[in-house]
């Protein structure tokens, strides 16, 4: 059980959302949507925080009995949300951080592409490959 999503900065809609397994996807979409509130809360609480890599990682947003939600926000307010199974205790905090960092890097690569307009859905094959490899790692 694993889901990755990239949320657009301004209008808060997902630019990319991908999960395995693919059934019950709607429930995960809903989870991501509700977690955005928590993300916004954390961002506003930061105030004039230092622009530090560590601050971008928001950590565990909230756990439910089935799954845990992690968040990450970039300096341009692009949010990454990850949902993992609660039973997956093998995933440590460091690994989650590194996964977010990889996501962030791949996202930056997409932004470098002049044919990508910010706000478009992400169709990049490189990004897909990276997410695939991450999913293989987790599951």
């Amino acid at each position: 059980l694993f889901l990755v999503s990239v949320i657009c900065p301004s209008q808060n809609y997902p630019l990319y959302i991908r999960s395995v397994p693919t059934e019950n996807e709607l429930k995960f979409h809903y989870t991501v949507h509700t977690s955005l509130d928590v993300v916004d809360e954390k961002i506003s609480a930061m105030g004039k925080a230092l622009v530090d890599q560590r601050e971008l990682y928001l950590g565990l947003l909230y756990p439910t009995e089935d799954y845990k939600v992690y968040g990450y926000v970039t300096n341009s307010k692009v949010k990454f949300v990850m949902v993992v199974d609660s039973s997956n205790t093998a995933l440590r905090d460091n690994e989650i951080r590194s996964m977010f960092r990889k996501l962030h890097n791949s996202y930056t690569d997409i932004m470098c592409n002049p044919f990508y307009n910010p706000g478009d859905r992400i169709h990049s094959r490189a990004f897909d490959n990276m997410v695939n490899s991450m999913m293989m790692q987790v599951c």
């Binding site: 690569d109 002049p114 169709h123 490189a126």
Partner: protein
């Protein structure tokens, strides 16, 4: 003199009483006809499918009743299908009709030129891509070489089939590309090389429907017909020399030939006069959008070719991107990953020409080829081949950590000549690493320090950053102490 067609159609040939025809086919006709036959031929059967033959006949631009007559005369109507014999006879009759002779058996006994077919639509895209659909004249150059490669491939593939009729090309494979090379030119404008202008003619664009694009308005990429003509002539003559190395190019559509490379370099120059600098993303976007490929495909091409993901294209990246655009326009599917022959290091190593123009290192010009060799051996970072352009790019606009890089490159000028060889490499590696992947420093932070240590005389270190705390302690004790004392 020639081998008869395979198997069961021999009976048909004698049945139509035209068995005596076959010895009359000349060498070139035989090659041409067998190629066309295979083209219309669905692989497992020995007889050509009716619909593709019909297409071919229509492409000959003869009036339909003539075609009907031809079909009758060659005997296909009677036997019900187009065996090799019928097909060859039909082709010969088409040639006769095109030359103005009546459609009769007697006509084909004469010496006739090869039949001409306009704008054959290609169902198996890769094999017979039509030459004309690209942006005016200039793309004839890369296209014919691509086509030559694809012809060679199909040629070799066809040789495996035992039933393929009269494969005299088997004896002399190097010669066949020359025939094939001529054929796309002969489409529509006879056999004249100067017929480049005819490419603008309507039939190609109208017929060819597999790619979405507009007419070949030569304004797309800036008109330079003289350049294209001369490169085309050069390519045809160079193609003879390439015959020996034809196997080198034969199976790789992703290999950039010399003419293509020259063309790409000229296009690069039109966008960016300095060959060692780069083209920014927006400029490149406008340029490639002119090719009328859909945006997702252009996006994918960019992803493939911008290896260091910096939003700009250096010369080798640009060549790779352009080559991919050309290939896509010719019907090739885009690969998932960048082919080896399109990698920047490969392209850079293949042509050292642009490196010598580097203004920044003109005193170090002797060491540049040397440093290039060392670069090839130490491919620790995949963008290692772009050091020199990166350096000039660094100085031109501020990228991340450019202050440090500036210090590095100014320090370079003070280093005595003996060490320039090493420091070009190490400094360039370091600055390249800084520029290309500043964020990956956390992953592999040791490589830069190692590179630094290898230098005989390391450049002066950057000024130490102010001591600041990383933890969220709100009290800045350092400042307080300094203020007190």
């Amino acid at each position: 003199m020639e081998q008869g067609p395979a198997g069961g159609t021999a009976a048909a040939a004698t049945a139509t009483g035209l068995g005596g025809l076959l010895p009359l086919l000349s060498e070139s006709e035989q090659q041409r006809y067998s190629e066309l036959f295979l083209r219309c031929l669905p692989p497992p059967e020995a007889a050509a499918g009716g619909s593709s033959v019909g297409e071919l006949f229509r492409a000959s631009q003869l009036p339909p009743d003539t075609l009907l007559q031809i079909t009758e005369v060659c005997g296909a109507k009677r036997v019900g299908y187009f065996g090799p014999a019928q097909f060859y006879i039909a082709l010969k009759l088409i040639a006769a009709a095109q030359s103005g002779f009546p459609v009769r058996i007697e006509s084909i006994k004469n010496e006739l030129p090869l039949p001409r077919f306009m704008a054959l639509k290609n169902d198996s895209e890769v094999h017979y891509g039509t030459p004309a659909e690209l942006h005016g004249v200039k793309f004839q150059v890369p296209h014919t070489t691509l086509e030559k490669n694809s012809y060679k491939r199909t040629e070799e593939g066809d040789k495996q089939e035992p039933k393929s009729p009269s494969m005299s090309p088997i004896c002399s494979p190097p010669a066949s590309p020359s025939t094939y090379q001529r054929i796309p030119l002969s489409y529509g404008y006879g056999k004249s090389r100067s017929g480049l202008e005819h490419q603008h003619g309507a039939p190609y664009e109208v017929r060819h429907s597999t790619h979405q694009q507009d007419g070949p308005s030569s304004g797309n990429y800036g008109p330079k017909p003289a350049l294209a003509c001369s490169t085309l002539n050069r390519s045809l003559s160079a193609e003879r020399e390439q015959q020996d190395s034809s196997t080198h190019y034969s199976d790789d559509p992703w290999r950039i030939t010399e003419e293509q490379r020259d063309y790409y370099i000229n296009q690069f120059r039109s966008l960016q006069p300095d060959l060692n600098s780069f083209i920014s993303g927006s400029v490149a976007k406008n340029f490639f959008t002119k090719s009328k490929l859909p945006i997702p495909e252009l996006s994918h091409i960019w992803e493939l070719s911008d290896v260091d993901c910096d939003g700009a294209l250096t010369l080798p990246e640009f060549c790779a991107a352009f080559h991919l655009v050309v290939a896509r326009k010719n019907g090739y599917q885009l690969p998932e990953t960048l082919p080896e022959t399109l990698l920047p290091e490969y392209l850079q190593a293949a042509s050292l020409k642009p490196m010598h123009d580097c203004a920044l290192f003109d005193t170090y010009s002797e060491s540049l080829p040397g440093s290039q060799q060392t670069r090839d051996f130490s491919r620790t970072e995949k963008t290692s081949a772009e050091e020199v352009p990166d350096n000039s790019a660094l100085l031109q606009d501020g990228k991340k950590d450019d202050k440090q890089a500036l210090k590095v490159s100014t320090a370079l000028k003070t280093i005595p000549k003996e060490f320039q060889h090493l420091t070009v490499k190490t400094a360039a590696q370091e600055s390249n690493a800084l520029k290309a992947r500043p964020r990956s420093r956390s992953y592999s932070s040791t490589s830069i320090e190692d590179a630094m240590k290898k230098g005989e005389e390391p450049p002066t270190p950057p000024p130490r950053p102010q001591k600041s705390h990383s933890r969220a302690s709100s009290l800045d004790l350092n400042k307080i102490f300094q203020q007190n004392t």
